[in-house]
C-alpha cells in the first residue's frame, strides 16, 4: 500500500499536531471526540469491572465501602457525562450531519472545536477529582449529602460536569443551526434521514436542558462553599428542591443518550433490509414527541421522596405517555423488515440487538411508571437493570453499530466482518447475562449502591459478574480489530454497503470539503426500492 495512489482526503490533507488540534474540519473534530470518549469509556468500564468484582461475594471484601461508593459514583459520572452524552452526537453526529445534508461543514466550525476543548477541560477537572481522592456522592449529587456531608472531591467534580455541560450546549446549538440553514438544495425536512431528525430532537434537549444542570450544580457549589442554605434544612433549605432541578435536566438527558441511537438504528435497518423505512413521518415526529414529553416526566424519580401523591399521579401519567412514541419506533423498525432482503452484517446485528434490548428496557420502564409498583422497586437493582437495558443495551449497541456502519466512510478501511459478527454476538449474550438477573435482584429487594449485600442475593450477582466479564471481552475485541483495520483492513470503496444517503456519494474517506460539487436531492430518504 503506497500513499501515492491515495486521493487527497480529510485525513491526509495536512499533517502534524497543529493540523489536528487547531482543525475546524467537523470530520477531524469527530475523530478527536472518538479518541477522547473511547478513553473515557475504558476508564468508566474499568470502574464497572471493579464494581462487579466486589459484588461477586456478599461481604465487602475487595475494596472498602468508601472506595466502592467512589467507584459507582465515578462509573456513573464518566459513563454519562463523558461517554454516553457525547458518544453518538459528538462523534457520528459531528462527522455525518454535514455529509448527510450535503454541507461542507457545521454552521460554526470554530465553535465546534471550542466545544471539544471545553469537553476536554471538563474532563481534566473530573479526572483530577478522581486521582486526587475521588468523589462519593453518587452521580445524582443528592443533597444534603453532597452539599454538606460528603467528605470527598465534590467541588472539583461538580466543576468538571458544569464545564462539560457547555460543550453539550454548543454542540446542540451548532447542530440546530446547521440542520436549519445548510441543507442541500431539494433536501426538504421530510426528505431528511431519520438520523438527522433524531439529532435535531437531541439538540433541542441539549440546548434547553443543560443550563438547568449548570444551575443545579452552581447551587451545590454555593451551598458547599458558602453555606447558602438552599438545600440543607439545617440552614433553612429544602433537599427536595435539588431533586426537582437535577431531574429536570437529567431525565431529558436519558433521551439525549438514546435518541441519537434511534437515529443510527433507522439508518442501519433500512440499509440491510433494502427497504424504505416503514412510517417515516411517524418515526421522525416521534423523536420530537420524545424530546417534548421528556421534559415533563422528571417527577417519576421522586415517587417515594415525600412529594405529594397528586404530583406523583400527574408524573406517572406523563411517564406512560412518553412510552408511546418509543413504542411507535420499535413497531416501525420491525415492520420495515417485512418483505425486505435482509442481510446480517455486524451493524445489522447491533441494530437488531438494539431493538430487542431497547424493547425490554422500555417495557420495564412501565413498572417504574406504575406508582404502586415503583414504591417497591424504586432504588433497587430493578432500576439499575432497566436503565442499563436502555443505556447499554440501547445507546451503546447503537453506538457500536454506527461505528461499524460508518467505519469505512470515516477511515477508508473495512473492518473484518467475521470478527465483528462474533463480537456483536458476544456483546449481546454478555449484556443479557449481566443485566437480566438484576431485574430479579431488584424485585427481591436488593437496594442499589450496596457495597455488601445479604447472602441470598449471591447467585444472581455471580451470574451478573460472569456476564460482565463476557461483555467486557465483547467490547475489547472491536477495539482491537478496528485499530488493526486502520493499517491492514481492506480499502473501502465510496459505498461498500450500497447504502442510500448523501454521505455515501462522496469518496471514503471524504475530501476536506466533503463534496466536489454541492449535491442536489430529488428523492425521499431510503429510496432503496428505486435503486436496487
Amino acid at each position: 500500500m503506497t500513499h501515492a495512489n491515495v486521493p487527497e482526503n480529510y485525513l491526509n490533507a495536512s499533517w502534524g499536531w497543529r493540523s489536528w488540534l487547531l482543525t475546524r474540519d467537523h470530520k477531524r473534530i469527530a475523530l478527536l471526540y472518538l479518541i477522547s470518549i473511547t478513553l473515557f469509556f475504558i476508564v468508566g468500564g474499568f470502574f464497572a469491572l471493579l464494581i462487579r468484582l466486589e459484588l461477586l461475594t456478599p461481604a465487602g471484601d475487595l475494596v472498602q465501602a468508601e472506595t466502592y461508593n467512589k467507584l459507582f459514583t465515578m462509573h456513573g459520572l464518566i459513563m454519562i457525562f463523558f461517554f454516553l452524552i457525547p458518544s453518538i452526537p459528538s462523534v457520528l453526529g459531528n462527522f455525518l450531519i454535514p455529509l448527510m445534508i450535503g454541507a461542507r461543514d457545521l454552521a460554526f466550525p470554530k465553535l465546534n472545536l471550542l466545544s471539544w476543548y471545553i469537553y476536554i477541560i471538563g474532563g481534566v477537572f473530573t479526572l483530577a477529582a478522581v486521582v486526587t481522592g475521588g468523589v462519593d456522592t453518587g452521580w445524582t449529587f443528592y443533597t444534603p449529602y453532597s452539599s454538606t456531608y460528603a467528605n470527598s472531591n465534590v467541588i472539583l467534580t461538580a466543576l468538571g460536569i458544569f464545564i462539560t455541560g457547555f460543550s453539550s450546549i454548543l454542540t446542540g446549538l451548532n447542530f440546530i443551526v446547521t440542520i436549519h440553514k445548510m441543507r442541500a438544495p431539494g433536501l426538504t425536512w421530510l426528505r431528511l434521514p431519520l438520523f438527522i431528525w433524531a439529532h435535531y430532537a437531541t439538540s433541542l434537549i441539549m440546548v434547553l436542558g443543560t443550563p438547568v444542570l449548570a444551575i443545579s450544580i452552581t447551587l451545590i457549589l454555593l451551598e458547599r462553599s458558602f453555606h447558602s442554605g438552599i438545600f440543607d434544612p439545617k440552614l433553612g433549605g429544602d433537599p427536595l428542591l435539588f431533586q426537582h432541578l437535577f431531574w429536570f435536566y437529567s431525565h431529558p438527558a436519558v433521551y439525549i443518550m438514546i435518541l441519537p441511537g434511534m437515529g443510527v438504528v433507522s439508518e442501519i435497518v433500512t440499509c440491510y433490509s433494502r427497504k424504505k423505512i416503514f412510517g417515516y413521518t411517524f418515526v421522525a415526529l416521534s423523536s420530537l414527541a420524545i424530546a417534548a414529553l421528556g421534559f415533563l416526566v422528571w417527577g417519576h424519580h421522586m415517587f417515594v421522596s415525600g412529594a405529594s401523591p397528586f404530583a406523583g399521579m400527574v408524573f406517572s401519567m406523563l411517564s406512560f405517555l412518553v412510552a408511546i412514541p418509543s413504542g411507535i419506533k420499535v413497531f416501525n423498525w420491525t415492520a420495515t423488515l417485512y418483505k425486505g432482503s435482509i442481510s446480517f452484517d455486524a451493524p445489522m446485528l447491533y441494530a437488531l440487538g438494539f431493538i430487542g434490548l431497547f424493547t425490554i428496557g422500555g417495557l420495564t420502564g412501565l413498572f417504574l411508571a406504575t406508582l404502586a409498583v415503583d414504591v417497591h422497586v424504586h432504588d433497587t437493582y430493578f432500576v439499575i437493570a432497566h436503565f442499563h437495558y436502555i443505556m447499554v443495551g440501547g445507546a451503546v449497541m447503537a453506538y457500536f453499530g454506527g461505528i461499524h456502519f460508518w467505519w469505512p466512510k470515516i477511515t477508508g478501511r473495512l473492518y473484518p466482518e467475521v470478527w465483528a459478527r462474533i463480537a456483536a454476538l458476544i456483546v449481546f449474550i454478555g449484556f443479557n447475562l449481566t443485566f437480566f438477573p438484576q431485574f430479579l435482584l431488584g424485585y427481591l429487594g436488593m437496594p442499589r449502591r450496596y457495597h455488601a449485600y445479604p447472602e441470598e442475593f449471591q447467585v444472581w450477582n455471580v451470574m451478573s459478574t460472569a456476564g460482565a466479564s463476557i461483555l467486557g471481552l465483547g467490547y475489547l475485541i472491536p477495539i482491537i480489530y478496528l485499530l488493526w483495520s486502520l493499517r491492514y483492513g481492506r480499502v473501502a470503496t465510496e459505498n461498500p454497503w450500497n447504502a442510500m444517503g448523501l454521505e455515501w456519494q462522496t469518496p471514503s474517506p471524504p475530501p476536506e470539503s466533503n463534496f466536489a460539487a454541492t449535491p442536489i436531492v430529488t428523492e425521499e430518504a431510503y429510496s432503496y426500492d428505486i435503486h436496487t
Binding site: S316, Y338, H376
Partner: protein, 312 residues
Amino acid sequence: MLIELPFWPQQASTVAGSVDVLSIFLTLVASFFSFLIFLLIFFFAIRFRRRPGLTATPVPTRLSLEVLWTAVPLGLTAVMFTWGSGLYLHNQQDPPGAMNIYVVGKQWMWTVEHLEGRREIGELHVPAGRPVKLILASQDVIHDFFIPAFRVKQDVVPGRYTTLWFEATRIGSYRLVCAQYCGTRHSGMIGNVVVMEPQDYQNWLANGADDPPAKAGERLFRTFSCAGCHELQATQKGPPLIGMYGKSVRMESGETVAFDDAYIRESILNPNEKVVEGYRPIMPTFRNQLNEDEIFQIIAYIRSLGAGDAKP
C-alpha cells in the same frame, strides 16, 4: 446438585399481595410485547433473509397500523396508570386507629421509639394484624425506609416528617434496609422488622421498657424552660398545650393549621413561621439544641396532655 434460585420475595403485609398481582400483570404485558417483537424479528429475519432470487418489495406505510400501535399501547398504559395510581393512593392512606411509632434515621442506623417507652436500634418490633404508622425523621441526610417483604418504601428526609404505614400479616423477621444512598456505610444501614403476636408484642413492650418518651419529653420541657411561657393553661406569652394535639388552630395569618406532629416540630425549630392567633412572634428557635429523638419526645409529651377532637 440443585442450587436454590430465589425468584420472588416473601409476602408479609396486607399490601404485598396486591402489589405483586399488579407486577405480574405488568410482567405479562411486558413479556407479551417482548415476545411479539422478538418473534416478528426472527420470523422476518428468516423468511426475508437475503438470498438469490429474492428482492425487497416496497411496502407503503399503512395508517391503520400506525393507529393500531399507538392506540393499543395507549389503552394498556391507561389501564396500568389507573390500576397503579388507585392502588398507590389506597396504600398511601393510613387506616384510622393505626398505632404510631417514631423512627429516626441517622448515618448509619435506625433508632426506634415506641410510645410505651421501649427503644431499639436497627430493629423494629411490631404486632401482626394491626396497622402501624411510622413517623420518620432524619437527623442528617436523606435515608429511605424499605421493607421488601412488605412492599413499602419511603424516603426519610431531613427537615420534615414523612410517614409510612403497613399491617404485617405473618409472624417472623423481615429485612429492613436503607434504600437511599446516604454515605460511606449505606449498605450497613440494615436491620430487621420483627413481627410478633399482639400478646407477645405487649409482653415485649413491658419488658425492659425505659421511661416512655412522654416522660423524657416532660423532662426536656422543664430543662428548656418551655413551661415558662407554655404554662399548661393559657397565659399571655404562649398558647396553651393541654388538649390541643390534633385540633385545628387559627393562626395570626388567618390560615387554619392542624396542631399535629409536623406543626409542633416546625414550631420548635422555626417558631415564628406560624404563630397562633392572639400571640406575638417572640419564641426563640431550638434548632441545634434538640435532636430529632428529643423533638419526638417533646411531641410525645404534648400528645400525652390530651388530644383534641380532630383526628391526629
